[in-house]
Symmetry: C2
Subunit: 270 residues, 2 copies
């Protein structure tokens, strides 16, 4: 078996998220079907991804892996790249297929995920509407950034996560920064070791409420390290969110990273 | 009567171009209907625009004017802005409504129109697919730019225009430049005093054929100043084209510009 790495992107609007679900169009389901078809496999392969995006959430830096039996891995990678480019629907693209380095695991080897959320407090440019959310009120970006500082570091983000039994909501938020784009929109970039369910959209919802003056920074800071979901936090629409990039360690550290991540998961998800 | 200036944008995909046509969804038709509705006018107003875009072509810098009877022009501008923002469908937006300066005419006062065409010779990012065309082969941007120099200046662009009887195809191409965007796509910016029908998409089609090596620069240069349409020139897909900006002279030169443009039109369109 050879492990392959796929770098891919999608417009999330017409997908019920990443994870395969019977009877629903999902990114995983669509990709597994097409890979099985273009390689003429009897059974479609199983894909594992770095960030299981929710319904409507986009990606341009998603990473996935799959294992295939092949005598000529390089040839298989090239065939898969070429055929998927022709076969896939327009809202799903595989930018590249490569032979994964030893020890690679798209999910457990990842050391960080970076998302971007784009929004506007002005009139929404129709050409940006697939990937931009509108907010009411005037957003003060400096105020938003000041409030965001309280979120940085290793914290329990339970107030911003949809609960899953036995799963930890402790994450390390490594980077959080809002800025105006040249076209006037506002982009909030967020990076963490990992994110729990709906976490980015809830963080942005909290920040927007502070940035527009509806809430104080102290309200947001007070939610950090509480471990139950806070119903006061707005979950922003999926359309503004893009998984931009996934970070991996150097090749010689992949295996140890995977071992550590799996061990941590067993500790926190009994 | 007070003249108002509208700055607007649209995703052209679901419109049959700018110009109103009975039974078809057009930008002009949709806007006139909505303006009539939100201002509760008995008869919808008539709009005049700077650049009559074709079916499928986008705009983010389109300018139009309309004349309305009103006792309080400032109030009318504000009401129109606010109500259109709520009423318009998502693929059409009015960024601003203002009282036009004396002598203003969206069409005849314009001194230049600037378009951008975006394309990729790689895998198309699904999140860019509304506004980006795919081309086969590898595009050499330097070769494309070198070939473009022959097009600059005052020329007969008849080889690149769909003919209209009695209409001149002489235009002044003021600017033409291709560059890589940070995301890897290629953007070709084109500015002229005005464009004839399908001209930008034909110019880009000719340039792409040179940039990919299918044609020589001398072929393209040989088409300049011939005055009949050349069937060898590919008309690129509408989806890659955006009307980005329209230029007007200083307010005190608006009237003379309008007079000159109308006189020129009478000379060339008997």
């Amino acid at each position: 078996m050879t492990r392959f790495r796929l770098d891919l992107g999608y417009d999330g609007a017409a997908f019920h998220g990443w994870a395969a679900q019977t009877g629903l169009r999902t990114v995983q389901g669509e990709l597994e079907t097409w890979i099985g078809r273009v390689l003429r496999l009897e059974t479609p392969p199983t894909l594992t991804c770095a960030g299981r995006t929710d319904a409507g959430v986009h990606a341009r830096g998603q990473v996935a892996h799959l294992d295939l039996e092949t005598n000529d891995p390089q040839q298989t990678a090239e065939t898969l790249t070429r055929r998927l480019r022709r076969a896939l629907p327009e809202d799903l693209a595989v930018f590249g297929v490569s032979i994964a380095p030893a020890g690679f695991d798209a999910r457990f080897a990842a050391i960080w995920r970076r998302y971007a959320y784009r929004l506007t407090d002005g009139v929404l440019d129709p050409l940006h509407r697939l990937t931009t959310a509108s907010v009411r009120g005037n957003l003060d970006v400096a105020r938003l950034n000041a409030a965001g500082e309280a979120l940085l570091g290793l914290h329990d983000f339970g107030a911003f996560c949809r609960a899953r039994e036995g799963a930890t909501t402790i994450r390390e938020l490594q980077h959080l920064w809002a800025q105006h784009l040249p076209d006037g929109r506002i982009e909030i970039g967020v990076r963490a070791d990992a994110f729990c369910h709906s976490m980015v959209r809830s963080l942005v919802g909290g920040l927007v409420d502070v940035g527009t003056g509806r809430r104080d920074a102290s309200w947001l800071a007070g939610l950090v390290d509480t471990n139950t979901r806070c119903s006061d936090v707005t979950v922003m629409p999926a359309r503004g969110l893009i998984l931009e990039e996934v970070g991996y360690p150097h090749d010689d550290q992949l295996s140890s990273r995977v071992t550590a991540a799996k061990a941590k998961r067993e500790l926190t998800q009994p």
